[in-house]
Amino acid sequence: MNGEPDLGASLAVGLNGVSFPTPVLAASGCFNSGREMAGIVDLHRIGGVVTKSVTLHPTKGLPVPRMAETPSGMLNAIGLQNPGVEGFLQKEGPFIGAAGIPVVVSIAGRSVEEFSQVTLRIRDLPGVVAIEANISCPNVERRNQVFACHPGDAAEVIGAMSRLTRLPIFAKLTADVTDIVAVAEACVRAGAHGLSLINTLLGMAIDTETFRPRLGAVTGGLSGPAIRPVAVRCVYQVAQALPDVPIIGMGGIRSPNDAVEFLLAGAWAVQVGTANFFDPGVMIDIGEGIRRFLNARGLSSPADIRGKARLPDRVAEPAYRRG
């Protein structure tokens, strides 16, 4: 309530020191820094923006086609097109400083050194409240194995970054691993303030007319409602293992109910990616929907439902989970 008697529940969330006015942020790569969307979305009614991932050098990205629609989802292979950290500071810096909303800068790189360099250039940018480390990137020093696929590699990046800045770092993980909890734990031990779950699933589609992959890069990342069950499972697994670590959940969220599902699974906040493309106002609607959901139950904050999924009395591990 506090000062918002008419609205009922407050949407503000605190993630162990980082706060957002609503628990609904824009996901990296799906909102740029917010500038383009400002004309159609009232940015002051969303929780914040996670920027498109920034790399050290300007990156031209992958050849088209860069996207393919799939059942209830889409594949993308943009190749992290961005003007590099200097170009980013120049083009987006002033906007970020003046936007008056919390901005999380997403950083990507091909080596620990690149992540570190970008961190150094970003850490003092006004308006930035946190860094998201997009470690679902290939590591050129490890035969292009994706950082987030190996707890050790992931920890190395997070460790290096966290030594360079006091900004909280959220490690963004991929679900394409055998044990996401192990990667999450390694990141937290290395200094991650929180975790962003999940990045896209690696997928592929082929045009049966031309026999060509539908993506110029052959494979790409699957996002949208199709992946939501996988994302909710990842958030749940990690939240069970690390209940005190802030988790920002994402993957296929497009309605208030979807967002509530992530909060119940253990997320402290959520991000919305693909849904912005077809419904630019969706983050505001989700926020208001969460408020109504809380009001209807006499609750005062999104934190009240965090991790509150009611599990059966006994959940035994050995059961066959599929089929």
């Binding site: 159609i40 990205g61 629609e69 693909t274 493309f277 077809f278 630019p280």
Partner: protein
């Protein structure tokens, strides 16, 4: 850019296409030729993304004031659904989007080249050009006569009109590029505006480049957002000096580009998937000596 729920005023056949008139005064007010709209498919379908369509007409005056017309070719799931739209249905539309065609004060004679439904935005453009007292020549090409977009109206609107069909069922047999040189010579056009399949745009742009005539092309590339935030709609554009290149967003920096600045080989070629930074950069690609119309 505006998001609005528009009523469908009518849905009529135009040859092989469907022509949808929407009540969208705010979008119609601001629309410029070459811009487009993004139309949402209904919730609950497995097709999530909006579909982009060029603006065929934006009426600001008269009986149709406040309406917007788009033309669609029903090919996939989204367009098939839209082709079924009925009067009074309501659509969720965002627009006007992108940068449209631009006009240079000193270029008085224009040639508009449209392929298939690519003719649609050229009608809107022709009207704007005529309002600026330009001479408007038009070439409309298509596979067959069913796909030549509004030939009768086109003839009324343009000062000169050439029609081509690949099967010879209307106008001259062949492609727009087969008649391009002759038409350029005959009309003395100083600038070319083109919309149609990307391969046609390339051919037109390359011919114009050879002749040193500025050429603006309205391209099509897959668009996840249409709002400038996802970078799916990349078109490789070469620097003004012919050196260096960058992927521009068709949805905000386009869909209209200077045809001589597009690196066609990279864009429409074999599309190798490699780290962009190691891609060979064009030493210098041909570009018109004529004054640049727009980057």
């Amino acid at each position: 850019m505006i998001r609005t729920r528009c009523e469908v005023l009518s849905n009529r056949r135009t040859g092989a296409y469907h022509s949808l008139t929407l009540v969208a005064p705010d979008i119609a007010d601001r629309a410029k030729p070459g811009q487009f709209v993004q139309i949402a498919v209904p919730e609950g379908r497995e097709t999530l993304l909006r579909r982009p369509f060029s603006i065929h007409q934006a009426s600001r005056r008269g009986g149709w004031a406040g309406t917007l017309e788009i033309v669609l070719d029903a090919r996939g799931r989204g367009t098939a659904w839209l082709a079924e739209a009925r009067t009074h249905d309501v659509l969720d539309v965002i627009g006007p989007l992108g940068r449209g065609f631009s006009y240079a004060a000193d270029l008085g004679s224009c040639l508009l080249v449209g392929g298939g439904y690519g003719g649609a935005p050229l009608f809107f453009l022709a009207e704007e050009l005529r309002a600026r007292n330009k001479l408007v020549g038009m070439i409309l090409g298509a596979r067959d006569h069913e796909r030549v977009f509004k030939p009768i109206e086109g003839k009324r609107l343009a000062d000169t009109m050439v029609i081509t069909t690949e099967d010879g069922t209307m106008g001259e047999r062949g492609r727009v590029t087969d008649v391009l040189d002759a038409t350029l010579a005959r009309t003395g056009a100083q600038v070319v505006y083109a919309c149609g399949p990307n391969a046609m745009l390339r051919a037109v742009a390359e011919r114009c480049a050879v002749r040193g005539i500025p050429c603006q092309v309205a391209v099509e590339e897959l668009m996840a957002c249409g709002l400038g935030v996802c970078w799916t709609c990349a078109v490789p554009v070469v620097g003004r000096d012919g050196r260096g290149w960058w992927n521009m967003r068709a949805c905000v920096e386009g869909p209209v580009f200077n045809g001589s600045r597009i690196w066609w080989d990279r864009w429409l070629g074999e599309r190798p998937a490699e780290p962009a930074s190691s891609a060979p950069e064009p030493e210098r690609i041909h570009r018109p000596e004529a004054a640049e119309v727009r980057p």
